[in-house]
């Protein structure tokens, strides 16, 4: 039941229709019912009056009543073909007929109008309900204005709707334009502000053909606009709350990062400064073990500074969502071997034992980032595992994913800490006992997740295991192995 704009008005159809029907009835009665009593003819004339009222409402009904009164008088009451009436009996018949016709059509017309109004209200309520439920789940301005524009076109049948929604301060407003058939150029016919009790959230612009909107349309449109405004306001409030929460969180993170980083940076710097200045002062003889020791210290401490800076960089990228692994087909064993060679000094007391099958598949990974993951896992293992205990690296396939484990012999971690050890700055032991920023494992998590994988920790009967799951496909495909790779 759409409201139509491009048709002849209902009331005009009603008037012509009534005149036509009364004319037809008169002709029929004149042809077939001349012998009947005039009271019966009067009754028969009431029928078209009822029909007209039912079809076209009160005005048409009354018109039909008047017309049938005239026709009845003119054709069926003697003297015929005049409006004059001779017998008083006929005068009474005529007057009663007129009263009955008018009263009946009025009663029916009112009932009909009330019903129409009720239906219209019901229809409006349904549209509102549909709009509200469509807007309820939306959490961004763009989809709200799209939904609103679609509902406005569906409900009112306008030619074109454009909705402009204000965004946060310093951001461009978003707009959406929807046309029923062809896009319209030129200025809009009507612009409505979308406002809530607090703010103006935007504007609705409308293009349509007729000159004005009906009262009901205006009212419904205002209700639509205010629902839209409320939905947009809700999104804006949510966004503001999120920003505040993120700022608060990042503030907290920055503070603990600065605390832990400045401590961590100073440790290797202090060692380097001490070694370099004592070499420079000439207090240490050339060609002594002490001198070699100092130089080795400088060399090793710069490496640990470099790892720390790399971790900080990765952390800030993970935080900013800017860590994009360059996934290529890589051999996990090769990546780990590379790390082992680089970490020779730190791993002196912790030999790496490989449990990787020789035909283990290539895994799509970022070589450098995965290197960082294993560097952090090994460096964590070295901190907690007892001296002279091996670190086992195993690789298998589980449900089409690579399952890689780094198992060390460090003491079990209480179950309640297990899922938190990958959180930033989370420490199971007291901070002063173990060095490190508390960033390493959270970086591992960030990198593995950026690869579309998963990392978790579990206690083993004899030690502690970091487990990783990584997809074995790249863009949904397995590696292409060349035909001539069959090794004889």
């Amino acid at each position: 039941m759409n409201i139509k704009f491009h048709q002849i008005p209902q009331w005009l159809i009603g008037l012509f229709g009534s005149a036509l029907i009364i004319g037809l009835v008169t002709v029929v009665l004149k042809l077939f019912a001349t012998g009947l009593q005039i009271q019966l003819i009067a009754l028969l004339y009431l029928l078209p009056v009822l029909i007209c009222t039912l079809f076209w409402g009160l005005t048409s009904g009354i018109l039909a009543g008047l017309l049938s009164f005239l026709a009845f008088n003119f054709y069926f009451i003697p003297p015929y073909l005049t409006l004059a009436v001779h017998q008083s009996q006929d005068v009474i018949t005529l007057i009663v007929f007129l009263i009955v016709a008018v009263v009946v059509s009025q009663l029916i017309g009112q009932a009909r109008q009330a019903e129409r109004l009720a239906r219209k209200r019901e229809w409006e309520a349904t549209r509102m309900y549909e709009l509200i439920s469509a807007l309820a789940g939306l959490t961004d301005t763009q989809s709200i204005i799209q939904t609103l524009a679609q509902k406005i076109i569906d409900t009112f049948g306008f030619d074109q709707v454009e909705i402009i929604a204000n965004e946060q301060v310093n951001e461009k407003p978003v707009s959406y334009r929807l046309s029923k058939f062809v896009p319209q150029e030129g200025p809009c016919e009507l612009a409505l502000s979308m406002f809530t009790t607090r703010t103006t959230e935007g504007e609705i612009r409308l293009w349509f053909d007729q000159n004005t909107l009906s009262l009901e349309e205006t009212r419904l449109l205002a209700a639509f606009s205010s629902q839209g405004a409320m939905a947009i306001e809700r999104v804006h409030l949510m966004q503001r709350e999120n920003i505040a929460r993120v700022l608060e969180e990042s503030d907290r993170v920055k503070t603990s990062l600065l605390n832990s980083v400045s401590h961590e940076l100073r440790t290797p710097l202090a060692a380097i400064k001490a070694s370099a200045s004592s070499l420079r002062s000439g207090a240490v003889d050339w060609d002594t073990d002490a001198r070699r020791e100092l130089i080795a210290t400088i060399d090793e401490e710069t490496d640990s500074l470099n790892l720390l800076v790399g971790n900080l960089l990765d952390m800030s990228r993970i935080e900013a969502g800017a860590l994009k692994p360059m996934k290529r087909w890589n051999s996990i064993q090769e990546i780990i071997k590379g790390v082992e060679v680089k970490m020779q000094t730190q791993l002196a007391q912790h030999p790496i034992e490989y449990q990787i099958p020789p035909d283990y598949p290539l895994v799509p990974t970022d070589y450098v980032l995965m290197g960082q993951v294993f560097t952090n896992l090994f460096s964590n293992s070295v901190k907690y595992a007892p001296p002279d205990s091996p670190i086992v690296v195993s690789a298998g396939v589980s449900d089409g994913n690579a399952l890689i484990k780094v198992i060390n012999q460090s003491p079990a971690v209480p179950e309640e800490h297990l899922e938190h050890i990958f959180d930033k700055f989370h420490r199971v032991t007291q901070a002063d006992k173990i060095t490190g920023t508390g960033l390493g494992l959270s970086i591992c998590k960030g990198i593995i997740e950026a690869h579309g994988g998963k990392i978790w920790a579990e206690n083993q009967p004899e030690g502690f295991s970091f487990n990783m799951l990584l997809p074995l496909t790249l863009d949904g495909e397995l590696p292409k192995i060349p035909k001539d790779a069959i090794d004889g």
Partner: protein
Amino acid sequence: MDKDPLILLIDDEPQILRALKTILSAGHFQVISAINGEQGIALAASQSPDVIILDLSLPDMDGIQVCEQIREWSTVPIIVLSVRDSEKDKVAALDKGADDYLTKPFSIDELMARIRVALRHSAQSIGNKETVITAGALSIDLARHIATLNGEELKLTATEFKLLSYLAAHADRVLTHQAILTHVWGFEESDHIEYLRVFIGQLRKKIESDPDNPQVLITDPGVGYRFKTGY
């Protein structure tokens, strides 16, 4: 050589320039330096250095661009300096004609080795090319298409030999994945890094004494491979 080789340093960090100048001068090189790309290109043209060491992040222009411009008229070896996480830049610089790269922070041993390799390669491209390349017990005769390990001929497939000889012909220099794939398998296959992983793995099994701890076919993470002679 009768005269110490001339090295041009292009880097805007005074600390790096100071350290490298001191170390290289002590290593019997002559050193000149530029603090931006424009100055570097001008010095490269007027002084004809034997090796250029180029930092990829310069204040006035992209280091890759500097590389490209110098390559328009000179074949002087260029070694680029870059930081971790910029593998794309390294590969781009190598594609634009750089000969090698070093990731900051690097050790002086690595830098000296790179400079020696660069000088040797530019000397070779002027004089006769070596046709027999050796790395430890491994020897590859490029002219006769024979590879031997401890004097015994290795059984290599055609593709394996093509790959090995391409790497050996550019001994001690990094070759990008793309360059190797294009040379060995052709341009259409140059995206299939997995080919390389498989074939390098096979070659390592045949030529390395410990394939899991390679000494000859070295991986350059995120960039490519390098045939190391131990030079």
